[in-house]
């Protein structure tokens, strides 16, 4: 066999291998590329939601103030603006870091390490979900925000309250435009407080933009659903890893890496949900 023909054979062989999917595009495995594709499409879904939030917020004269809406803390504490959500964010970031550790241990084919750090990640994710459940519970049960009713209002004129609400408003209190308030429920009925504005008109506190409630529940709920899904997948992968499924594959626990991508994405989305809902 001459040298010429053997090179030709090799080329044909390589071509065939390529066409049959032998080479890796972008030097990444099929699974990883597809995970990235999924993440992209999901990112656009979230972007659509958050942009809708922006458009609706721009379309009304007032919007609830996040540091007024999110000021409760477990244990009946109030006046702690954004502290609880900061804690939640920290928990989610920490679970992202433990996920990186799981991936690193996987690359070293260290089964025990992978399982341990996956369990830590699950713990972090579950804590985050628990915090979110508490936050929702406060909004639903104590503050009575629903998909169509938003008790978080904001004054657009100055005035004086004529009566108290039994919570933090007393008769005779004055307020300025831009001051915010929460309308309470008394015996299952809304109890907006009467006030007199500068022109002498007597009015009742008006409700905040109803879109706020539905946007909050839909967007944080959609994110929470992603966290829940992530937790289930993480649990399955942890059980598989403990059972030695990925040892046999000899690919450095690639499955852990792919789940890791998804988990970091959930954290990434939270960065923007946090920005849009709590910071801006």
């Amino acid at each position: 066999m001459s040298a010429e023909t053997s090179t030709k054979d090799l080329e044909t062989e390589q071509e065939q291998v390529s066409w049959e999917g032998g080479s890796k595009p972008f030097k990444a495995s099929y699974g990883k590329l597809m995970m990235w594709n999924f993440i992209m499409s999901d990112a656009f879904t979230f972007a659509g939601f958050l942009i809708a939030y922006g458009a609706l917020r721009f379309s009304v004269p007032t919007w609830p103030e996040p540091d007024f809406v999110f000021q409760s803390f477990p244990g009946g504490l109030h006046n702690m603006p954004l502290i609880f959500v900061t804690l939640m964010t920290f928990v989610l970031i920490a679970s992202s870091a433990t996920m990186v550790r799981a991936v690193q241990e996987g690359q070293r084919e260290n089964k025990k390490g992978v399982v341990f750090w996956l369990l830590m990640t699950i713990l972090g994710g579950a804590t985050f979900l628990g915090c979110q459940a508490w936050e929702w519970h406060t909004l639903i049960v104590k503050e009575h925000m629903t998909l169509s009713e938003n008790p978080f209002g904001r004054h657009i004129e100055a005035g004086t309250y004529l009566e108290g609400d039994g919570y933090d408003i007393e008769a005779g209190d004055t307020f300025q435009p831009g001051d915010f308030y929460l309308i309470h429920k008394v015996d299952g009925e809304w109890n907006p407080v009467a006030y007199q504005n500068e022109h002498g008109d007597v009015k009742l506190q008006s409700f905040g933009p109803p879109a706020f409630g539905s946007l909050f529940y839909f967007i944080t709920g959609f994110h929470g659903f992603h966290v829940l899904t992530g937790l289930i997948i993480l649990l399955i992968v942890a059980i598989n890893a403990a059972g030695g499924v990925y040892v046999k594959r000899r690919n450095g626990y690639e499955m852990v890496e792919k789940v890791g991508l998804y988990w970091h994405f959930v954290d990434l989305v939270w960065v923007f949900v946090f920005l849009v809902f709590y910071l801006l």
């Binding site: 990444a28 942009i51 458009a55 917020r57």
Partner: protein, 136 residues
């Protein structure tokens, strides 16, 4: 991780965690400082607060994608095929916020018709008296 040693890689994770936590605390601090919670009577200009928040959040996103999701170490083609489509969002954000502003202006134009619902329910004299009597 390429040629980075295991010990180094572990340190990177810890450093990343601390960095992200600090950036988050900084964001919340700026938010509260801007609204006068930290120093009573002191407010930062809104545009500055917004700029800082968006900047810091984008930095967090850059860090998570680059280090945690390993994008920094992928092939260039993969990175651009992931990042370039997000440029579509630039117009998406401008267009929809623009539209939101337009809805607002249109509503303002027709304001008088809806004034009652919008600015609070006006109470009649006798309604007010009833309410005040109920409270006593």
């Amino acid at each position: 991780m390429g040629n980075i040693s295991y010990e180094q890689a572990k340190r990177t994770v810890l450093r990343g965690l601390i960095l992200l936590a600090l950036v988050t605390v900084a964001e919340v601090f700026i938010a509260l400082l801007g609204k006068g919670y930290i120093i009573p009577g002191f407010y930062l200009p809104t545009w500055l607060v917004y700029l800082a928040m968006i900047g810091l959040s984008l930095y967090k996103a850059y860090f998570i994608m680059g280090e945690f999701m390993h994008l920094k170490y992928e092939v260039k083609g993969l990175v651009s095929s992931i990042l370039l489509p997000f440029l579509l969002l630039v117009w998406g954000i401008i267009a929809f916020l623009w539209d939101g502003t337009y809805w607002y202006q249109k509503r303002e134009e027709y304001r008088t018709e809806f004034q009652k619902e919008r600015e609070g329910h006006l109470l009649e004299e006798h309604e007010l008296e009833d309410r005040l009597r109920m409270l006593d």
